[in-house]
Assembly symmetry: C2
Homo-oligomer: 335 residues x 2
């Protein structure tokens, strides 16, 4: 049995969902994978909690606990035996902070990193990757690349040995939901309002509807899977804010469906990535991926196209994908 020390930073929706799932799955982790998951500390804006194994989960999730202010993350990472830093602070894809500092602090002190936060990776993928590699540490981010929809896993594990020559994905639930509802006859504003009312879209939906969330994900997937070092300036980004019901109807009349796709294409040994509104027909395996669902297709040399779709698009799905990454770092073998 291996003890896996966890320090969780960020206790919003995803951080809480991860904590709850890790507690629910404590016995499963022990029995099935021989992993004893131990929470050493949780950090959030108002402070830190430690000795979490003696806490009541429901109290903690209800915020009935006093957070200790003033304790520094790096001092905890220094003191405890290294395990996994789980990063769930909000994504800032321009500066990467505060996540970027957290990730560097963790790697510097010999901790593996599992993150749901796209920001640090979008801002400094090469630097973080290099540091993790030099120190033989894991830097895993299923939670930042469509979460419960397996994207990186499928590419790296299920397609091992195949050359990936193209990627195409519906990677953002909000935009896909809006596009589906526009196909049902709504206009953009109505569809966005409905998505917000249902908790699918955020109150400020700009990162989603302008394509930046999709751009971040296809960027990270490309860099991890193909070893490229793309940064955001290399991505041609299109959003859905300007589309009219007319365009949606035109596509429908031709039997096509409008999707906002994150795409990687290979043209003469050069890769290109972009986010583009695309009308696809029913020969495309992503045709049926509608509503808040996501999906991704990998085109390969030896295995043709492999498409994955589904996976819960909510904090619980994201939390489960963080636990998955932890298990896959520590499990002793795959047979």
């Amino acid at each position: 049995m291996k003890v896996v020390n966890i320090v969780l930073v960020g206790f919003g929706k995803v951080g809480k969902a991860f904590f709850r799932i890790a507690c629910e799955k404590r016995d499963l982790c022990l029995q099935q994978y021989g992993l004893d998951i131990q929470f050493k500390a949780i950090f959030e804006e108002s402070g830190m909690l430690s000795s979490l194994n003696h806490l009541n989960i429901e109290d903690l999730l209800a915020n009935n606990i006093d957070w200790r202010p003033g304790i520094r993350l790096d001092s905890v990472l220094e003191k405890e035996r290294a395990g996994v830093l789980v990063e769930c602070t909000p994504s800032n894809i321009k500066k990467g902070e505060p996540g970027l500092s957290h990730l560097h602090q963790a790697l510097d002190r010999g901790w593996h990193v599992v993150t749901a936060n796209k920001g640090p990776l979008v801002v400094d993928f090469p630097g973080l990757k290099r540091k993790a590699k030099e120190k033989h540490l894991a830097l895993k981010f299923s939670g930042a690349t469509a979460a419960a929809l397996p994207t990186l896993d499928v590419a790296l594990f299920s397609l091992a040995g195949a050359e990936i020559t193209g990627i195409e994905g519906i990677l953002n639930g909000t935009t896909n939901y809006i596009l589906t509802r526009m196909e049902d006859g709504m206009d953009y504003r109505e569809a966005l309002r409905e998505a917000q009312a249902k908790g699918i879209a955020e109150s400020d939906p700009s990162l989603d509807v302008e394509g930046w969330d999709t751009a971040s994900k296809i960027l990270l997937i490309a860099n991890e899977v193909l070893g490229t070092e793309f940064s955001m300036k290399d991505v041609k980004v299109e959003g859905i804010t300007n589309i009219s019901p007319h365009i949606v109807n035109q596509a429908r009349k031709k039997g096509k469906s409008l999707k906002l796709l994150g795409k990687l294409t290979k043209i003469k040994d050069e890769f290109k990535i972009e986010v583009a509104l695309s009308a696809i027909d029913d020969s495309n395996p992503l045709f049926g991926v509608d509503g808040a669902n996501k999906g991704i297709t990998f085109t390969t040399d030896t295995m043709d196209k492999v498409t994955v779709s589904g996976g819960k698009s909510d904090p619980r799905g994201a939390g489960a994908s963080l636990l998955k990454d932890i298990i896959n770092i520590y499990r002793s073998s795959f047979f």
Copy 2:
């Protein structure tokens, strides 16, 4: 760098495709995974070949080589440093032979097993699994469970930590092709003949059209993923030989599509597996999986439904899935 010794048994379509892909991917395996793949011997009915690294691949594939008769597999497995036995002889799901003996010989002598042959696993899954576990050896069979469509990988790796509560798959290309063509208006006989003419269906299609191939696959997937010990007698099997164009039309009129599904369901902590002709509507992610394509949906507790579809349904896809399993046994880490 690790040297990976391979002994390949069975040099039919899949064995040849695997050999060709492994040769094509020699440099990739070295550079990307640090694996030096070395063929120590190939066995087929007429004899054995050794010292394969000095052979011309095209000659070998063209059968311009004299096979040495009379050499026993076990003597080669005994003599060479243990690596992976790759088993590609024809599936016999009643007796399991000759594959079953090959697998036992390999495991007894400390060789990992990667197999495209369903027979031995259908006949004695618990025995083989136990032996592999006791000896800390891999027993991998992506090639026997839909090959280039990743089924086991996704369940075991991408859904790690989630509880799988149901599985539903289109696992046989021949039956799915026939059903799709019947939706286009053909009758069963016509559609079968077309599938045979296109090389999708075999000249004796009974294992496919009577549902036994699907049954074998769902059986193996269930046993591996859920740790059950189902055998063929536990599976209720239905085929497609008795369906009339009328039934297909009726389904179509209701907006549904007929699929032959391998299903695992959980009813009060009890698992049940069956192969059943099912009319599914477009809310089912397998609805759009048509022609010779395959797909599988896993229902989980924390990640909702995850569906994979595609993957090349031919010997090359199967060969690529065998290479994938070998890489995933030996690769040093996943980060």
